[in-house]
C-alpha cells in the first residue's frame, strides 16, 4: 500500500490537496447543494448534507493516505510541500506533517464527517451554506495543523475563526447567537497580538522567510523571546480555553450545532503551543517563573474545569468544562516538556476530539428527540434508550480516563512525565482525577438512572442505525486506541523528541533548564 502511494508520488500533492480540496468542495456544495428543509423538490443526491459528507469523505481518504504514507521511523517533516506564494514577503505555502500533527490531522478529518453524519438532522436550515462553511472550517483546521510557514499558519488560524463565527452564530440554538461574537472577540485579541509577534519574529529573521525551520534558527535574546512568547501564548491560550481565558468556550460549545461544537473543542491551540510557541521561544517558555505560572494555570485549569463541570446542569456544558479540564492536562504535559508528558499531551488532544464527539453527539441526539439537554429533565434513560446510554457511558468513561480507554493513555503519560518536572503541581493535578469521577458520573446518574422522568416516559427513541453506527465507530476508536495506542505513540516519538530536545538544547534555549522547584 505504502509503496503504491510512494510510487504515485502522492506526497507531492497530498497536503495541498487536503487543505485546498475542502475550499473547492465548499464552492461546489454551495453552488450545487440543495437544502432539503426548504425546497419542495426532493434533494436527492444534491442534498447539501450528503454532498458535504461526501466531500469530507474524500478528505478522510486523503487523511488515510497520509497515515499510510507516514514513515514512523523518520523524524522531521514528511509529505512536505513548498509552493511559492508571496516571494516579496518570503511567504510560501510550506506544508508538512510530523508525528505531532499527523494524529491530530487524521483525527480531525475523520471525526468531522462522522459527527456530521451522526448529527444528520441537527442542522436543517440553509444546509448548503452550512456545508460550505463547515468545509472551509475543515480547511482551516487542517491548514493550521500542517502549515510550516508562519504566515500560512496565521492565515489558516484566522480561517478557522470566520467560518466558525457564522457556524456558531447562524445555526446557534435559539437566542444564543451572541456567543459567536464573544468567541470571535476572545480569539481575536490573542491572534492579533500573535500577528504582531509573527511579524516581529519574521523581521528578526531578516524578513526573508516565514518557514518554521528558518525561524527556529533565528537567535533571539531572552527578553525578546519573552514578549513574543507572551503574544503567541495569549493567542493559543485563548483559543484552547485555558482558565482564565476560557469563558467564551462553554457557552459557545453549548450553543453550537453538534459538529461545530466538536470542531470548537479541537485543541488546535494546544498543538500550536507545542509546534510554535515552545520551540520558537524556549528560553521564555522554560524561564522558571513563566513555566511555574503556566504549569500552575494548567493545574488550575484541570481543577477549575472539573469543579465547574460538576456544577453544570446541562450536558453540553458538562462536556465543555470537562474539555477545559482536559486542556489543563494537555498544558501540564506540554510545559512539563518531557517526552512522555508531551506524548501524553498529544494523545490527550486526540482523545479530547474523539470523546467530545461522542458526548456531543449523544447530547445532540437528546436535543433532537426532546428539545433539551438539561440534566434535570431526564431520568431512567438507561432502560428507555440502552444504546444511547451505552454510548454515553463509554464516552464518559473515556472522559474520566478509565484505564483501557484513550483518555487514560493521555492522562497517564502526562502525569508520569510531568512529575519529575513539577512534583507538587502534578500531585495536585491528580485531584482532578477524583473530580473527574464526580463530574463524569453525575450526568449518568441524572440522565440514565432513577425512574423515568415525564419527558422520558413520553418516549425517547433510541439511536437510529446511522447514529448507532457513527457512535459505535467513535467509541470503538476510543477503546481501541486505549488498548493499542502504540501505533499513534510510535509515530510521534521522533517529533516529540525534537520538540523536547529543541527546547532544551536548541539555539535559543536557556543555558541550563532548571526544574520547577517545589514552591507551590
Amino acid at each position: 500500500m505504502r509503496e503504491t502511494l510512494l510510487a504515485l508520488q502522492v506526497g507531492a500533492w497530498l497536503l495541498p490537496a487536503m487543505v485546498l480540496w475542502p475550499v473547492v468542495a465548499a464552492a461546489l456544495v454551495r453552488a450545487v447543494g440543495r437544502d432539503p428543509g426548504t425546497e419542495e423538490v426532493p434533494a436527492g443526491w444534491r442534498d447539501a448534507r450528503a454532498l458535504t459528507v461526501g466531500a469530507l469523505a474524500v478528505e478522510v481518504l486523503l487523511g488515510a493516505a497520509l497515515w499510510i504514507l507516514f514513515d514512523p521511523a523518520q523524524s522531521g517533516w514528511q509529505a512536505r510541500v513548498d509552493l511559492p506564494w508571496i516571494p516579496e514577503l518570503g511567504a510560501a505555502l510550506s506544508l508538512g506533517v510530523d508525528g505531532l500533527s499527523l494524529p491530530l490531522v487524521v483525527m480531525a478529518v475523520t471525526v468531522v464527517p462522522l459527527v456530521l453524519l451522526g448529527a444528520w438532522n441537527n442542522v436543517r436550515t440553509r444546509t448548503p451554506a452550512f456545508g460550505a462553511l463547515l468545509l472551509l472550517l475543515t480547511s482551516g483546521v487542517v491548514g493550521a495543523l500542517v502549515a510550516l510557514d508562519l504566515l500560512a499558519f496565521y492565515v489558516a488560524w484566522e480561517l478557522i475563526l470566520v467560518p466558525m463565527y457564522f457556524l456558531v452564530g447562524v445555526w446557534a440554538l435559539a437566542g444564543e447567537s451572541r456567543v459567536a461574537l464573544r468567541y470571535v472577540l476572545f480569539t481575536l485579541i490573542g491572534s492579533l497580538l500573535m500577528l504582531v509577534a509573527i511579524l516581529a519574529l519574521w523581521s528578526a529573521g531578516g524578513g526573508t522567510s516565514f518557514h518554521l525551520d528558518h525561524l527556529l534558527a533565528v537567535p533571539l535574546p531572552p527578553r525578546t523571546q519573552l514578549w513574543l512568547f507572551g503574544a503567541f501564548f495569549a493567542a493559543f491560550a485563548v483559543k484552547s480555553a485555558l482558565v482564565p481565558f476560557h469563558s467564551w468556550f462553554p457557552p459557545a460549545q453549548a450553543a453550537a450545532p453538534t459538529v461545530v461544537g466538536v470542531v470548537l473543542g479541537f485543541k488546535v491551540g494546544g498543538y500550536a503551543l507545542l509546534r510554535f510557541a515552545i520551540p520558537l521561544f524556549p528560553a521564555a517558555a522554560l524561564q522558571p517563573t513563566v513555566r511555574v505560572a503556566i504549569l500552575g494555570l494548567a493545574v488550575v485549569t484541570v481543577l477549575y474545569g472539573a469543579l465547574l463541570a460538576m456544577a453544570q446542569g446541562e450536558l453540553r456544558r458538562v462536556v465543555a468544562y470537562s474539555s477545559i479540564s482536559h486542556l489543563g492536562f494537555i498544558m501540564l504535559g506540554g510545559f512539563a516538556l518531557t517526552p512522555e508528558a508531551v506524548s501524553g499531551a498529544v494523545v490527550a488532544m486526540v482523545h479530547s476530539g474523539l470523546a467530545s464527539a461522542v458526548l456531543l453527539l449523544v447530547a445532540g441526539v437528546l436535543e433532537d428527540r426532546t428539545g433539551t439537554t438539561e440534566l434535570g429533565a431526564f431520568g431512567g434513560l438507561a432502560s428507555a434508550a440502552p444504546l444511547l446510554s451505552m454510548a454515553l457511558v463509554l464516552g464518559m468513561l473515556s472522559t474520566v480516563a478509565l484505564p483501557g480507554t484513550l483518555g487514560f493513555v493521555g492522562e497517564f503519560l502526562v502525569l508520569m512525565g510531568s512529575y519529575a518536572q513539577a512534583p507538587a503541581l502534578t500531585l495536585t493535578a491528580t485531584v482532578g482525577v477524583v473530580l473527574a469521577a464526580v463530574y463524569g458520573l453525575r450526568p449518568l446518574q441524572q440522565l440514565l438512572f432513577g425512574t423515568r422522568s415525564p419527558l422520558v416516559a413520553h418516549g425517547v427513541p433510541d439511536l437510529t442505525r446511522r447514529e448507532a453506527g457513527v457512535l459505535t465507530a467513535l467509541v470503538v476508536a476510543l477503546l481501541w486506541l486505549g488498548v493499542a495506542p502504540a501505533p499513534v505513540l510510535d509515530r510521534m516519538q521522533g517529533a516529540v523528541r525534537q520538540v523536547v530536545e529543541g527546547a532544551r538544547f536548541g539555539p535559543n534555549a536557556l543555558p541550563a533548564i532548571p526544574t520547577v522547584s517545589e514552591t507551590p
Binding site: I86, Y165, F166, A180, L181
Partner: protein, 518 residues
Amino acid sequence: MMASDLLRVLAPELLLVAGAMVLLLASVWHPQGQAPEGAEGAERTAAMARGGMVLCALVGLVVTIAWGDGVGGSADGRLAADGFRFTLDLVLLGAAALGLALVEVDHGRFRGYGPEVPALMLLALSGMMVLAAARDLLFVFLGIELMSLAVYVLAGVQRRSARGTEAAIKYFLLGSIASAFLLYGIALLYGATGSTRLGDIARWVAEHPAGGGLFPAGLGLLLVGLAFKVAAAPFHVWTPDVYEGAPPPVTAFMATGVKAAAFATLARTLLEAFPGAVPLWHPALWWLAVLTMVTGNVLALAQRRVVRMLAYSSIAHAGYLLVAVVSASSAGAAAVAFYLVAYTLATMGTFAVLVVARPSDDRPIEIADLAGLWLVRPGLASALAVFLLAFMGMPLVGGAGFFAKWLVLEAALQASSPQRVLAVILALTSFVSAGYYLAVIGTMFLRPRPDQAPVVRVPALAGGVVLTCAVMLLALGLYPSPLITLARRATVVTEQGASARSAPTIPPAAGWRAAVAR
C-alpha cells in the same frame, strides 16, 4: 522653464482638467429646464458620470504611460513624478471612477444630482492628483483648496437635503479653519527656511539639525492642517457629521479620495521635507496615531447608523495609516500605498452596498436596516461581509485588508526605531474594531429579515462595483504579490535623489531684486 517638460509632467492633470471642463460645458449645453422632479438637468447626470468614468480610465492610461516613460519631476522641483505619485494617482482615479459609478447608481434611485456633479468630482480629483505630486507647500495648499472647495460643494450638492447642506457648511467652516492653520504653518516654515519647496526645506533641516526659529511652530501648524484632512483625532470631529450628512456616494469619494490625497501629501511632506526632523515630529505624530486609533475605534462601537460608524472606522484607518507614516521610511510609504488600495476597494464596495440598501426616504441607514440581508441578498451580504472583514484585516476572507495591515505593521516594526508599542496598540484597537464590524455582519447574517423590510434591488452597475471591489480584494488577498510590488515601487523619490538635472535654486534672501533684474 521648458513648457514641454512641464506638459509631460502634468499631462494627466491637464487631460483631467480639460476633460472636466468639457463635461462641464456639456452639462450646461441644453437650456436648463425645470425637471418635474429632481435636480435640473438630472437626465444628463448619468451620461456625465459615465463620461467621467471614461475620462478617469483615459487619465489612468496616461498616468501609466507617463510612469512607464520614466517621466521625471518638474524641472523646478515643485512637482514629483515618482512611483508614489503615480500609484496614488491610480488609486485616486480608481476611487473617482467608482465614486462616479456610485453617483450614477444613487442618481438612478433618487435623481438628486445635477449634471455638474461629475465634473465637480473630476475637478476635485485634479486637486487630489496635484496633492499626490506636490513638492512645494504652495501646491499642497492649492491642491488641498481645490480638492476641498469641490468637496464642500459636493457634500451639499443635493440641495433638497437639509442634512447635506448642514454637512457642507460644517465641513466648509472647519475645513477653512484648518486651511488657515495649514497656511500659517506654511508661512512660518517659509520664514524659517526661506522656501516652500520640500527639497529646500529638507536641505535647510539638514543644515540646521537643531531646528530652531519658527520651524517647529510652522511644522506643527502644517501638521494640524494635514491632520485635519486625514481626519486624525482630535482633528476628526468633522468626519462623523459630514460623512453622515453628505450623499453616500460623495461620502465614499470623500472617505477614499480625500483621505488618500491627504495621506499622500502628508507622507510626501514628512518624508521629503522633514526626514531630518524626525525627532521633532515623531512624538507628536505618535500620539496622534494612538489617539486616532483609539478614538475612531472606540467611538465607532457606539454607533447605530452605518455611515456614521463607517466615519469613525475611517478615522480608525487614518490612525493605522499614521502608524505607517510614523515609521518614516520608504516601507511606510509602500504601506500607505498598499493600504489605500485595499481601503479604497473596501470602502467603495461598502458604500455601493449601502447605496442600494439604504432606505428610500432621506433617513440615514441604520445597522438594523441590514437585518437579515443575507436571507434576501446573500451575495450582497457576503460581499459586505468581505469588505468589513477587510477593514478588520482578516486574512483570506478579508482579502487584501490583511496584507494592508501587515505592511503597516511591517513598516512599524522594521523602522529604524521599531514602533513596537504602536504595533501592539494597532493590534488591540483592531480587536476593538471587530466589535462594530461584527455587529454589522451579525445583523446581516444572524438576524431575521423584518417582514416590512423593503426589497433591495441591485442595479447592474452597483452589482458591478460590488463585485469588482470584492473580487479584487479577495484576489489580492490570495495573491498580493503584484500589489506589493507596485506598492514597493511607490516610494517617494526625494528631490536630491531624483533630479540630477538640478533645478534652478530660488534666489537667496537679499538678492531677489537681482534675480528680477536678470
